[in-house]
Amino acid sequence: MIYLDHAATSFPKPSAVPAEMLRCMRLYCGNPGRGSHALALAAAERIFACREEVASFFGSEHPERVVFTVNATAALNTVIKGLLKAGDHVLISDMEHNAVYRPIHRLAQEGRITYDVFSTMVTEEGRNPIRITARLSRLVRSNTRMLICAHASNICSAVLPLEELGAFCHKRGILFVVDAAQSAGHLPIHLKHMQIDALCAPGHKGLLGPQGSGFFLLGEGILPDTLIEGGSGYRSLEGEMPQEMPERYEAGTLSTPAIVGLLEGIREVKKRGVERIGAHERALNLRLQSRLECIPEVTVYAPMHHGSVLLFNVAGHSSEEVGQALNKMGFCVRAGFHCAALAHRTLGTPQSGAVRVSPGYNNTEVQMDAFADAVERICKH
């Protein structure tokens, strides 16, 4: 079986990830922040080490601003709903995943906010950051409070210019929220240089951690309201959640095994080098793209060549049929709509969806060639 669905989750994980998770569950998995016995503190020590690793990896000097969640969707919901107030206006990109689109849409349906979708121009000639921000500026209103964008698309190779968008937002006093689900561990991200107010990411994709790990990282002065309340292991006799970060946002028991797995995953990414990983994946993507574009029945949706996700369809077959045929031939890819209604609309694939190929750190050129051969065989039948 050849795994080419790293945009859904990276697989297999580096051996240090499951090894540390198992070690944790066998040797030191007390409840962090609940009591001060040796095993509770041992778990807490590893969790703090992971906060430090996440913060430094993304250019922050504040590990206490790393808040662990179960996934990127939970992180985005907390940031979005915790920061927006009634009457706010929000800008989201036309490449957003439903993790952004749905909470924003719901808030708008309830009449609490309004929002506009801005064009990332991924299908247009002459696309550049200046043109994107020039268009964007026409959508800004006096009550525009937040701009949210995916750094890298989850369905194609589009990557958004975070530095320019961050500068755009801060010049206008707009909160800049980034969904790094498809870029964390694939592309360099620096909270300060990119002027990001809130960075949300899963642990189980490019950071090579386990499912059930995710986080958001807040810039200085950013203090969302809480989305859930409960035990925090601190100031237990009070009715309110504590103000201190990250305990304010981490009600309930954290998943220590998932977080220590994430710690090992990030260390593996650092060892390999995020630039090298990204370059390797993009090279595989381009190699496959050049092969698929030579097949007359295949349409490749590849507006840019910055990311490592490739989207295509085969004439005469639904995306699901192609996905199933590839599965029978030993390839794991994802067909359909990829929880990305806006992005598929932008690329012009909303009716049938498409097949997504997302190579990862451990795939090879030989595997990409074998995949292209398999698509050719499907086209001949």
């Binding site: 922040g33 237990s236 009070e238 201190e244």
Partner: protein
């Protein structure tokens, strides 16, 4: 000003939440001051659970200075 419970040669600062206490411990260890994270001394009138850090009683001034420079507040 010392919020410490002397126990042999070990004193402790009450810090607050666990993550803050972990940060305080890092600061002290980086400053070559032996330190451990401990549960807070819960007295009547406290707001509930919390955490602190230990330090050698003879190094209180250095410990307090290191924490202040790091922006970590020592609570009573």
């Amino acid at each position: 000003m010392r919020n410490a419970t002397q126990k042999k040669e070990e004193c402790r600062f009450m810090i607050g939440a666990l993550t803050q206490a972990m940060q305080a411990q890092r600061v002290l260890l980086n400053g070559a001051i032996k330190s451990e994270v401990v549960g807070a001394d819960l007295r009547q009138g406290s707001a509930g659970c919390g955490y602190g850090v230990t330090y050698p009683c003879g190094e209180e001034i250095q410990a307090r200075n290191l924490l202040r420079k790091a922006g970590i507040r020592v609570r009573r």
